[in-house]
């Protein structure tokens, strides 16, 4: 019973795991009948609009709200001082990131604004439009202060220290070192080195950040409808910082219009909304507009990385040495902290390769820009771009084809479990099998021949390859050991209702990845019922088991295993009741397609609905001491490995117009090993969506700043994103190396695409430019940068 049969080997009833089953909750979405936070309207609801700082750094001498309060429909204006007595400040550090520091942060700052777009006052009005009208009439007396903008100079003497109590602008620094790096470089046959830049991005969820908080003074309960990935975490945050018992806070997230990590953080303006709801004891709604999303959603990936790689005479990597610098804004973001991205970079560089000597330093500095924090594939696209950029340089220096160079250096498939030079523990990866599969998919010799032929015609095409690892299924080693109240465990409650239908309530959440779909598949198979009989409940702290939510690719691997174990437990409970009703041993029975059947013969004995009817309405007919627990909860947490690493490899094929610098994407491929694939339809679309997010990073996306710290974005016209016309078709293949930590064997799949795509695009562009000896290493690879590399513009 407790065994998942390979779904492709049999076609028995309820074998849903591994099949492309459409998601149950898509139908309402295609009819526009989902429920996003802004769709919820409550009696006496009021709206907040924020006054936001136009200065990168300024002291707030005073805030005059009188004129704003005169606007008809305006109810209150709150300043930082008004909220100060109602809210505990937070300091976003993690104990295991040794030496990390940050400053106390409040919902609204009391005396100083530290980035352009920081909320400094909140206007509450009957409508959002009126609130916005009144924002223009709040008079804030700013006294501009010198700003620290450029991360390269943030630690230099004379650079303004943003938080004088901290002594300097250093948030965190770590060196991850193993082996004898200097000796290896001294003995190297070839050394390559380069400096890479990844641009400051933002996630640009199409549904902006949204919150509707309601405080009932009678019941003393705070209910928060929130577009978030982590409702239980937010429940704890609201309780702790608004000084409420955790049990009096309920966080509900129904449909979430995109998250990608943007919606897993604590935003000061959202805490302000909850505080205002508590003060005013009525529903308060805040929906960010696009401009304030650009200025106040977290940014990410603002890194400069110097890297070196040493290779021996056989073309084998002997050492990697990198120096990473990142600017994270004026505060580390609560509670995950803004040091994790840099920490991931030093953990992940070189990840796919078999080498011995490693040194990686990250330096995380404060500056007066929008705070950065975890965004889809945290640190991975940076580490992969550096690693794969150096690998292509090393292959060229060694005179080897990039594929041959990778084949000589990838970790061998049979060599696990093992630990990487960066200290990462790998249970089982499939780099070589993935490379072989990729080469078969792209037909490597044919593509190379086409590339050569077209070059002769003055058409410059490039093929870029990028191997990667991805960290999924995180244990408490990610956040919990550092003191953050972020659950690495997750739970699922499965119950059989009187009509034989099944409800599964899970702590993992849905933002479009298909969480509800995969939980439904797993529960239907684990229990043995038609999938149509299963409903899934997510995103409500009052009705789901406590859990972490959906982030770091943990939904399927952690939440899925909890669901599977819970379903198996309910099945055992049902069979115990069935045994008593049918005068049979429970072991001689099974539950198949919603019927109690004889194990072995498959002969139907009784519908599950009949069993449920007897349990709920005629329990008097059952033996008095018979347990009839048709609802079971199980939890799952990984224990043997801190993370379940996955791996994969991508290839990009593109054409560079050497006259205009424009890149035309022709095709993209990815082979990905996320362990057991629960639903190929969903996994493939996670990979494709992730790849396009990575392509956006490589070609378009950047949050530009003026030297004085002004954010130079007025609308989506200033922050380019991938649109349908420019994107390629993407072919996805799989190798499956299930994790043995769980019965389900699933690892995460949601970030692999984003992890590898920028590196593949970079290598493809540089492959196209090879005849000119030109290279681009700073993302985004805009036409201007490509023309500059070609020497056609300064």
């Amino acid at each position: 019973m407790n065994e998942i049969v390979d779904p492709r080997s049999v076609d028995r009833p309820n074998s849903y795991i591994g099949k492309s089953v459409p998601r149950p909750n898509v139908r309402k979405l295609v009819e526009g009948r989902g429920q996003f936070v802004d769709d919820i309207v409550l009696p006496r609801m009021v709206h907040v609009a924020f006054v936001r700082s136009p200065h990168a750094h300024a002291s707030i001498a005073g805030i005059d709200t009188a004129e704003a309060l005169q606007v008809p429909g305006v109810l209150r204006v709150f300043t930082g001082r008004d909220l100060e007595p109602h809210c505990e400040p937070w300091v976003a550090v993690l104990a295991h990131l040794k030496g990390m520091k940050s400053a106390p942060q409040r919902p609204l700052p009391v005396d100083r604004a530290t980035w352009v777009g920081e909320a400094v006052a909140a206007v509450v009005a009957e409508t959002r439009a009126i609130a916005e009208d009144a924002v223009a009439k709040v008079n804030v007396s700013y006294e501009p202060l010198p700003a620290t903008v450029d991360m390269e100079t943030a630690l230099e003497p004379g650079s303004p220290v943003i938080h004088p109590d901290l002594g300097d602008n250093l948030c965190f620094q770590r060196v991850n070192e193993s082996g004898s790096v200097d000796d290896a470089f001294a003995a190297a046959h070839k050394v390559v080195e380069a400096t890479f830049h990844t641009a400051r991005h933002t996630g640009l969820t199409l549904e902006p950040r949204s919150i509707l908080a309601d405080y009932n003074r009678g019941s003393r309960k705070l209910t928060v409808h929130h577009s978030t990935q982590a409702p239980h975490m937010m429940q704890g945050v609201f309780a702790q910082h608004l000084r409420l018992p955790e049990g009096d806070v309920r966080v509900i997230c129904s449909d979430v219009g995109g998250s990608y990590g943007i919606k897993v953080h604590v935003y000061p303006d959202e805490v302000a909304v909850a505080a205002i709801a508590k003060i005013m004891a009525r529903p308060v709604k805040f929906i960010a507009d696009r401009l304030e999303s650009f200025a106040s959603d977290i940014h990410a990936r603002d890194h400069r990385i110097r890297g070196r790689m040493a290779v021996d005479a056989e073309g084998r990597i002997t050492a990697i040495d990198i120096d990473d610098l990142t600017g994270i804004g004026p505060y580390s973001v609560y509670p995950r902290t803004s040091a994790v991205e840099g920490n991931q970079v030093v953990n992940l560089v070189g990840g796919p390769y078999d080498f011995a000597n490693y040194r990686a330093r990250t330096t995380v500095v404060f500056q007066n820009k929008t705070p950065t924090c975890q965004y889809r594939a945290v640190g991975h696209p940076i580490a992969t771009a550096v690693t794969e950029g150096l690998v292509d340089l090393a292959a060229e220096a060694a005179g080897l084809d990039p594929v041959e160079f990778r084949r000589r250096n990838l970790m061998a498939d049979g060599s696990y479990p093992r630990t990487s030079p960066a200290g990462m523990k790998f249970e089982g990866l499939s780099h070589v099998a993935s490379l072989d599969k990729l080469l078969a998919m792209i037909d490597y010799p044919v593509l190379r021949a086409e590339q050569d032929r077209l070059r002769a015609e003055g058409i410059y095409r490039g093929l870029g390859i990028a191997a990667f690892i991805e960290l999924t299924n995180p244990s408490p080693f990610m956040y919990g050991i550092g003191g953050a109240r972020i659950s690495a465990q997750d739970g699922c409650t499965v119950r059989i209702d009187p009509d034989g239908s099944v409800v599964a309530a899970t702590g993992v959440t849905e933002q479009g990845q298909g969480t509800e779909g995969v939980i439904r598949q797993i529960v239907a198979e684990g229990l043995g019922v038609p999938i149509e009989q299963v409903r899934v409940v997510t995103g409500d702290t009052l009705t789901t088991p406590y859990g972490g939510g959906t982030w770091a690719c943990r939904g399927a691997g952690i939440g899925g295993e909890a669901a599977l174990q819970s379903a198996i437990a309910v099945k055992a409970a049902a069979l115990e009741v069935a045994g008593a009703m049918l005068q049979a041993q429970p072991e001689a029975l099974d539950l198949v397609n919603g019927d109690i059947v004889e194990r072995g013969t498959g002969r139907a004995r009784m519908p599950l609905s009949e069993l449920a009817r007897i349990v709920y309405f005629r329990g008097d007919t059952l033996p008095p001491d018979l347990p009839r627990e048709l609802m079971q909860t199980r939890h799952f947490i990984t224990k043997q490995y801190p993370f379940a690493f996955t791996n994969g490899i991508q290839a990009a094929y593109l054409e560079v117009d050497i006259e205009t610098g424009l890149v035309k994407l022709l095709k993209h491929w990815c082979v990905e090993d996320c362990g057991r694939v629960i639903n190929p339809l969903l996994v493939d679309e996670q990979v494709r969506g992730g790849i396009v997010q990575g392509i956006g990073a490589a070609l378009y996306e950047e949050c530009p700043y003026a030297p004085d710290g002004q954010l130079l974005i007025g609308s989506m016209a200033d922050y380019l994103v991938p649109m349908a016309a420019e994107m390629p078709d993407i072919e996805v293949g799989h190798v499956e190396t299930p994790t043995r930590e769980s019965l389900l064997g699933a690892k995460g799949a949601g970030e692999a695409g984003t992890a590898g795509a920028p590196a593949a695009i970079m290598n493809a562009i540089n492959d196209a430019l090879r005849p000119f000896g030109a290279k681009v290493l700073a993302q985004p690879f805009t036409p201007e940068r490509i023309l500059a590399a070609l020497g056609k513009v300064p």
Binding site: G32, A129, E685, P722, D729
Partner: protein
């Protein structure tokens, strides 16, 4: 000049009369005045396409059209075309192909795709991509959406669906 105007229009086949602020945009009329929450405000600058609806048969950005200009107009939203069954095949194709993830862009994407299939019954993948190029989707990477639109077009033409 008054800051409010009276308008009468038809929304999803029903007559609607409202006194509205002159600055009211169509997307706010639909969502705030009529409770039609299927059309979404994504950027309110006309870039993202999430608020795409039909006015007198043509798709428009709901965030760029002033409601005051719609006296006498016929407006159709995702709710209307869902109830009429007009785009059921496209919606089925989106469900089958998992061409919607978070679902926020989906209503606008569907109305844009429906317009393409009306004008061009057998579009190529490039034509589909070009036509959808004003609708931002952060989740899917567009490939599945292109597949779904192509499948719906093929089915309308009696062709084989992949």
């Amino acid at each position: 000049m008054s800051t409010h105007l009276d308008i009468t229009l038809t929304v999803n086949g029903e007559r609607v009369t409202r006194r509205i602020e002159a600055r009211r945009h169509l997307i706010d009329l639909l969502r705030l005045d009529l409770g039609l929450m299927g059309s979404h405000a994504g950027c309110e600058h006309g870039f993202c396409g999430a608020c795409t609806v039909r006015v007198d048969g043509a798709i428009v950005r709901g965030c760029l059209v002033l409601a005051a200009s719609l006296d006498g107009a016929q407006v159709e939203t995702i709710e209307g075309v869902s109830d009429s069954g007009e785009i059921r095949d496209l919606q089925e194709a989106f469900v089958a192909r998992n061409a919607a993830q978070c679902g926020y862009c989906t209503p606008g994407m569907l109305l844009t795709a429906a317009e393409l299939l009306k004008a061009s019954p057998a579009p190529t993948r490039e034509e589909i991509r070009e036509h959808l190029s004003g609708n931002y989707c952060r989740c899917t990477g567009y490939h599945a959406i292109v597949d779904a639109v192509a499948a719906a077009a093929a089915k309308r033409n009696g062709g084989v669906v992949r």
